[in-house]
Symmetry: C2
Subunit: 208 residues, 2 copies
DNA sequence: TACATATGTTAGAGTTTCTTACTTTGACAA
DNA sequence: TTGTCAAAGTAAGAAACTCTAACATATGTA
């Protein structure tokens, strides 16, 4: 390595300790961790700043307020959920009802893996926030489900019947996710196994 | 009215302006209103005190902390929900699947009538709170549902099949409640009517 | 009447969100 | 090289919030 290169590298890596590099992303990750740790309501901007190593005023250069930080976490989460769904069905032929079951399973799996993010999006925290990116991310997930239902019942477009069946299945896995997430609630359905339950409800809803 | 009665009444009604009378109940109601107004996360003890007309320290004679105030609101809400269910099925013969449909309808109706209370109980706010009264109130609601399912499929006790079917129906109405409550989510199921949807899913789940 | 108890209040410590005014850094043009 | 500018940080502080401690007042009972 030449001396010049060394100098350049050192300069680049130093990051000057003043400018963070990508504080926005850093804060989103810090927020996600804290929310996942302390629950959706036990999050403070101050904590996120401590974790990211910046002053408590720094976030306000990147987000309008605390709520926008939480919304950003949700948007990222919905993106991950959709990606999970798509890779999970990749090996199953189109029109196979197992695709629907697997998609539902991914929904639940996500809810259990990132419970705080899930509650953040669907638990009423982001209700009045009206963020377009978040809305779009959510719709993309549901569109995926509708397409699978259509393929299963042999429809080439999203007819009212497809809408209705997809909506039923969504309601079911959505509710199931919330219930399984809450220890006290999950205890009320003791000897129940998720996979067979999912396959069962899928069959019932997709049938005529 | 006699003078004596007048004096007594006046004394009783005066409430001495120092002692509230029933501050615990007053604070629960104030909390409910505020939570319903500003969303589950937009509630402050201070606001409740202003609304009830007492100092910000007064609640701590009745509740351990903010969380306990919210839990108390949930417990009252679950009680109302159960009462609604019971009076709604009173005129339908036992074993009629319409009883199950109606119970589900009441669940959803409650969720839409007191959305913030509903989210408070089920949205993760009371997760780590572990309150026995709250847990019991929730179980009482589910027990009601299980009994109806058992009657419909001709079982005299809560068998695993009954458990499974009741759990399915609960998951469904639970998820549907959350979805309908959220304007952005409800838009995703546009031309869907709740009553027929409920009857449809009930039939599918109760069938063999 | 007098005391114990329940239920209030005031004052204040310690956090929290968010604003304002200032500083540092990096990039680019002259 | 140097001057300018926008972007991204800091420090300090206002306003609000939760909760505690110490004190005050009312109520019920012996």
């Amino acid at each position: 390595m030449s001396t010049t290169a060394d100098t350049q590298t050192a300069t680049t890596l130093k990051k000057s300790a003043y400018h963070h590099g990508d504080l926005r992303a850093g804060l989103i990750e810090a927020t996600r961790q804290l929310v996942e740790q302390n629950g959706p309501d036990g999050f403070s901007v101050s904590d996120a700043c401590r974790l990211a190593g910046v002053s408590t005023a720094a976030p306000y250069k990147h987000f309008k307020n605390k709520g926008e930080m939480l919304v950003a976490v949700c948007v990222e989460g919905m993106g991950r959920l959709r990606a999970n769904m798509q890779s999970a069905v990749a090996d199953i032929p189109l029109g196979d009802p197992r695709r629907v079951t697997v998609i539902g399973g991914e929904y639940i799996k996500y809810a259990l893996a990132e419970p705080a993010c899930f509650k953040l999006k669907f638990g009423g925290f982001t209700d009045g926030m009206d963020d377009d990116a978040l809305k779009a991310a959510g719709e993309a997930v549901f569109d995926t489900a509708k397409a699978e239902v259509a393929a299963c019942i042999g429809e080439s477009e999203i007819t009212p019947i497809v809408q209705q069946k997809a909506f039923m299945l969504w309601s079911f896995v959505h509710g199931l996710s919330f219930i399984l997430e809450d220890k006290d609630l999950a205890e009320m359905g003791p000897e129940i196994e998720i996979e067979p339950l999912l396959a069962d409800i899928t069959r019932r809803v997709l049938s005529d």
